[in-house]
């Protein structure tokens, strides 16, 4: 049996929620309104002799429309910030692809992008930095006065295979790029952050 003022009570609540969600994106608004309508329907199914007071209690437990809308907008703005910031913690994008490419072609630029990305963890970044630092420091002219005296006699001792050995150090950059690419498919575990109503005690 339907409560005497069921339509006014329920539709009044939905209208208030709709108005509070005025500035929310259309899909979020539709989803929340459908979820809330579904909730009210489920709750009403459990009532044998529905009264106006029962309905008011259901809506009271649901919460103020402004509170629900605020929660929806908060979730929306958090999502927008993540997608606007060129990189996201849940999906990789151009910054990660450019980083992989540049780690091979222009290591300093590549490694900066690697550290800027929020996708890879600290351990991944450290591994890639260590791998690329070896060929970079050997090939960078600024380090020549420091490395030359150590490396020169060493290469002399190695003899003819030395140029091949030094040249193959560039493979470390390729290895670093491959490592980064593999980590794109097997991202590190991320801690779950509880947000919203569950986090409130």
């Amino acid at each position: 049996m339907t409560a005497p003022h069921a339509t006014q009570i329920v539709e009044g609540y939905i209208a208030r929620l709709e108005s509070e969600l005025d500035t929310a994106p259309a899909d979020r608004r539709r989803e929340l309104l459908a979820d809330v309508r579904g909730h009210i329907t489920e709750a009403r199914l459990g009532l044998e002799h529905e009264t106006d007071a029962d309905l008011l209690n259901i809506l009271d437990r649901l919460g103020e429309p402004a509170e629900l809308a605020g929660e929806a907008m908060e979730a929306t703005s958090a999502q927008t910030v993540a997608s606007d910031s060129s990189y996201s913690t849940t999906a990789w994008g151009w910054i990660e692809l450019a980083a992989i490419l540049l780690v091979i072609l222009a290591w300093p630029a590549g490694i900066i992008l690697v550290w800027l990305s929020r996708f890879w963890g600290i351990r991944d970044k450290a591994v890639v930095t260590a791998l690329g630092a070896v060929p970079f420091s050997l090939g960078f002219p600024l380090f020549a006065p420091l490395i030359g005296p150590i490396l020169g006699p060493l290469l002399e001792r190695i003899g003819p295979p030395a140029p091949i050995l030094v040249g193959s150090l560039g493979l470390l950059n390729i290895a670093a790029a491959i490592y980064l690419a593999v980590r794109l498919w097997r991202p590190p575990e991320r801690p779950l952050r509880l947000t919203g109503p569950v986090a409130r005690g």
Binding site: D35, A78, L192, R193, V198
Partner: protein
């Protein structure tokens, strides 16, 4: 999310489960924006199913990413709990 480990549940069912725990859910309706967010972040996936004697229900289940996130949170929680327990025991 932990409630979804054993089986998929529909929104109203999840809300009722959480409401049973005193003080955990102040407003039942605020669960829905949270669930929508989990879905957008692909931590849960949804599926509509017919129900007996009512409208179709939207069921939520954990995705693989969700399972990993939950596992990560469980580990963090265990560490945090033991740290807090240690402090509380030391303070009494």
């Amino acid at each position: 999310m932990a409630l979804l480990t054993s089986r998929p549940r529909y929104g109203y069912e999840l809300v009722q489960e959480l409401a049973r725990v005193d003080g955990l859910l102040t407003s039942e309706g605020t669960m829905y924006p949270l669930l929508a967010r989990l879905r957008r972040e692909r931590l849960v996936v949804t599926e509509w199913r017919e129900s007996k004697g009512g409208p179709p229900r939207k069921y939520y289940r954990l995705s693989r990413t969700g399972e990993r996130a939950l596992e990560g949170f469980r580990k963090e929680w265990a560490t945090l709990r033991s740290a807090v327990d240690g402090i509380l025991k030391g303070g009494t």
